[in-house]
C-alpha cells in the first residue's frame, strides 16, 4: 500500500513547489502549508544565522510517527509533506516546509498546525543561533519524554 505522507531531513534547500505538488490530489479541495523561516531577532538579540542539528534516523522515524498520529486524529484522508533542513541557514531562509491536503479546508488547517506543534515538542532537532556580535548559543528546547 502506498503511503500518503513524505518526510525528510535534508541538507538541500527546501523546495516549496515540491511540497505543494506532493500534497495535491484530485480528490482534495484544500492544501494548507507552513514555511518556517529564520528571523533576525530572538529575545532581543540580533540573529544572523541558525544552524540545525539532528539525529536524522530517529528524527525521520518521529516525523513518520507524527504523520500517522495526525492522520488517526483526523476525519477523512490527508496527504502530508514535511521537509526539515539540517545545516546552516541565513535570515529569511526556510528551515521547515509542511504541506497537507484534505478534501475540505478545516482538516488541512488543523492538521498543519498540529504537525508543526508536535515536531517542535518531539522531533530530535536542535538549533544554534549565531548573533551579530559573533557569539552563538544553542536554543533551549523541550525535554523529550522518557516513558
Amino acid at each position: 500500500m502506498s503511503s500518503n505522507y513524505f518526510v525528510e531531513i535534508t541538507e538541500n534547500k527546501l523546495n516549496i513547489q515540491e511540497a505543494l505538488n506532493y500534497a495535491s490530489a484530485n480528490a482534495h479541495g484544500a492544501v494548507a502549508s507552513f514555511i518556517g523561516t529564520i528571523r533576525d531577532k530572538n529575545l532581543g538579540r540580533d540573529v544572523v544565522a541558525v544552524s540545525y542539528d539532528s539525529s536524522t534516523p530517529l528524527a525521520t522515524n518521529v516525523l513518520s510517527e507524527i504523520c500517522r498520529e495526525v492522520q488517526e486524529q483526523t476525519t477523512g484522508p490527508l496527504r502530508i509533506y514535511i521537509s526539515h533542513f539540517k545545516g546552516r541557514l541565513l535570515v529569511g531562509e526556510a528551515s521547515i516546509v509542511i504541506a497537507v491536503s484534505s478534501p475540505h479546508r478545516n482538516e488541512s488547517f488543523v492538521a498543519c498546525r498540529l504537525l508543526l506543534e508536535e515536531i517542535k515538542k518531539r522531533c530530535p532537532i536542535w538549533k544554534k543561533e549565531h548573533y551579530s556580535d559573533g557569539n552563538s548559543e544553542w536554543v533551549k528546547g523541550h525535554a523529550l519524554c522518557q516513558h
Binding site: S55, W126, K140
Partner: protein, 91 residues
C-alpha cells in the same frame, strides 16, 4: 566479576560541546540499566564538582537508538551505539 560491555554514545545539539568527536565510549557491566550508563557518562564528562547548568542539561537529556527513545530501566546486554538527546527545538 561482571563482564564489561562498551557503549558508544553519540552527542547532539548542546551536548556536542562535551566531546570533540561528538561521541563518548563508556564501559559498564553487562546487564546494567541505562540509568547506570547515564551516571557513568556524567562522571566521565563532567567529573566533580559539576556546574548546575551542565548537570541540568544531562538530567533533561534522554537516550535513544535509531528507532525510539529508551527508558532508564532499559537493560544493556551487548556492545552498542546509542544517542543522547538534549531538549529539542525543531521548526
Amino acid at each position: 566479576m561482571n563482564a564489561q560491555i562498551t557503549i558508544t554514545i553519540k552527542l547532539f545539539g548542546a551536548l556536542r560541546q562535551f566531546s570533540e568527536d561528538h561521541a563518548v565510549i563508556i564501559s559498564v557491566p553487562v546487564n546494567s540499566h541505562l540509568n547506570t550508563l547515564k551516571k557513568a557518562l556524567v562522571n566521565s564528562l563532567l567529573g566533580s564538582p559539576t556546574s548546575t547548568s551542565n548537570t541540568a542539561l544531562f538530567e533533561s537529556s534522554v537516550f535513544a537508538n535509531d528507532s525510539e527513545i529508551l527508558t532508564l530501566e532499559t537493560i544493556l546486554s551487548k556492545n552498542q551505539t546509542l544517542t543522547l538527546l538534549p531538549p529539542v527545538c525543531g521548526g
